[in-house]
Amino acid sequence: MSARTYKPSEQVDFAIVGSGASGGVLARELSQAGFSVVVLEQGPRLGPSDFEHDELKHWFANGITNEPVRNPQTFRADPAAKATRVLDIPALMYARLVGGSSVHYTANFWRFHEIDFHERSVLGAIAGTGFADWPIEYADLEPYYTKVEWEIGVSGLAYASPFDPPRTKPYPMPPMPVKSSGVLLERGGRKLGLHPFPAPLAIASQPFRGRPACVHCGFCEGYGCEVMAKSSTLYNMIPEAEATGRCEVRAESYVFRVDTDKRGRATGVAYFGRDKREHFQHAKAVVLAANGAETARLLLNSANAKSPDGLANSSGYVGKYLMFNAGSATGASFEHELNEYKSVQVTRIIHDFYDADPRRGFYGGGGIDARIDGAPAWWAAINNPPDASWGAAYKQVLRDFPKSLISVGHCTSLPVETNSVTIDPELKDAWGVPAMRATYLDHKDDLATAAFMQDRAVEILDAAGAKKIWRVPIVPQTVGVHLLGTCRMGNDPKSSVVDKYHRTHDVRNLFLCDGGSFVTSGRGQPTMTIQALAFRAADHIAQFARRNEI
């Protein structure tokens, strides 16, 4: 298929930066609405035959993600300390290719609950944090959650969880077949009076909109899908956008600055092309969907005389309130084989502890699942039982791999102002662009929530009949794959970066839509909400454009 292309000198209706979970949706929606669109993606365009079952490449060597040589970062936990360069796994990690992190995600697709949008009003302020309500409610987003399920492609069982928020339609596909980890989580959970239910996943359980069903190869988390069953924007939104004849997805095009004119309006984006040379794409409006780390960095690197602290940053909050989602991991092994390396990662989840409960003495809530978390090398190197880490006893431990699972707790993170994406004062990337500096230390309540979720996991696994249970130590996070909160949404231009339609308060024709728009973190599975926000944003942006209000 030869999709439409544009010259950078042609002024298109929309330049969208990023082709991932939100950028792909925005591209498809705006081009289907009749607008001309150029999507600029820093990574390459890969397809199913480029993806492979290679654990070293994907889990240890940054095979399809940003990586520390070309895209260097610095990290510090203490905001007063000098940040040091990250050498192995990026502190702020995302998949760097067309389709973005929707290519390598695990595809757990939980809707937020109603409480997520107004938790601050219910629970009150939390000292030392920017804990706040969203400017929208669940009801505003519900139609778009439904749209994600039916157009992106989500499998699941509607009404299975007594804690689920209201919905207008069931899922378009049945849940994935249960695995042994799911059966055991369900067995243990039900014994304790909890309510395990089939996990909703953005993975096709049966042929869906021209894509095949999952073949249970097991390589979802961290990998690109070889059979196109995972509902990545690479396989749905991007080709559908191109099919309109109005959208060009320009891969290997690395945007490093948004320019504005004398009136303060965005004129387009400066980028390095695959020829390594600088180009400028002209556009009537610019949408940044580059993820919660890169969108913030791009705004900060777009500082000019009029906006010395960064574009769209009159509030001073661009890059702040970074949230990773706290988490816990609890290992268990059983008498018989589970073979968790087969099929999708997760088939049952528990939401009984989703809501925060002030009686616990700390803020937070989350969900619990069961899986193996990576293929054998990650398990053996990182998550293995603590009994032995080398020698004859360790070799015996390794033989337990097929009988083992890891239960993961997915938790809230509080918005802490010092947790942030800023520009490193010294380090530059391979193109000479100032690199990002991550500052992150989990709030004590986030760590308490993770520990609480681990305690519950131990009880559930014990009730399920585990022979051995081990706790992977809960330590402050130094790597985040959920990049949330850095350009938060709000009604007040003094305390937020975008309004409830994702328009920046400062620049009328500049929109931001990705994990950065989040006000609170949800319970650890953000992509579903990122995409619902993107569908909603696209609806409003298209209306503004039609009414000449951009």
């Binding site: 070293l56 060597a61 059966v183 589970l338 090398a377 190197a381």
Partner: protein, 198 residues
């Protein structure tokens, strides 16, 4: 046709139906073939480590995952993986690893003058390794040995898939339920009473 590819195609055919397979044959075939071809392990050779360093690294790896009635890190060729890693994905830590090895040897020689680590009896090797098991050098050796056992054979370790055999991992492109013991007789999801019901 390799067995991996054949079983993948068979399973795919069952799961997807012939129509989809015919439509997507070239892509899937290419992917499976690519994976199969790249499974061929490279010739064992050293690019970074000297022969003496390689003997020590092999000896250390051999105690991290020892050989018993089944192959261990030695048979997996972990030392070739480590050599490749120090010129590849772990190159940024090369000097740190080689420096750590030099200090390791200094400490060993101080304790056992005139002896080489690789040439000393296994009991002595294990005893010495226990005394240094918290050092960054040993931790890195442990990390790289595990990867040399379980990473894809194209990186030089996990020869003939011996690491995967040890942990019971099957390198196939498709599976069908039941996947394990506990999902074999699952009776189906029983719904909970609706809100407001008993």
């Amino acid at each position: 046709m390799g067995s991996t590819r054949r079983s993948f195609l068979t399973a795919s055919g069952q799961a997807l139906g012939a129509g989809w397979l015919a439509l997507n044959w070239p892509k899937i075939s290419a992917a499976a073939m690519h994976a199969h071809e790249s499974a061929a392990a490279p010739e064992p050779r050293l690019a970074i480590l000297s022969a003496a360093q390689a003997r020590d690294f092999d000896a250390i790896a051999s105690q991290i995952v020892p050989t018993d009635d089944t192959p261990g890190a030695h048979e997996a060729g972990a030392v070739y993986f480590i050599d490749a890693a120090l010129g590849g994905f772990h190159a940024v830590h090369r000097e740190e690893v080689l420096g750590g090895h030099a200090r390791f040897l200094t400490a060993f020689t101080a304790k056992y003058p005139g002896e080489s680590f690789a040439g000393s009896p296994v009991t002595r090797q294990v005893e010495f390794l226990k005394s240094v098991e918290t050092t960054p050098f040993f931790q890195t050796m442990r990390f790289l040995t595990v990867l040399g056992l379980l990473a894809h054979p194209k990186y030089g370790g996990n020869r003939d898939g011996v690491g995967w055999k040890l942990v019971g991992f099957e390198d196939l492109h498709a599976f069908q339920p039941p996947f394990g013991y506990y999902d074999r007789d699952y009776a189906g999801f029983v719904p909970y009473a609706k809100k407001g019901q008993a």
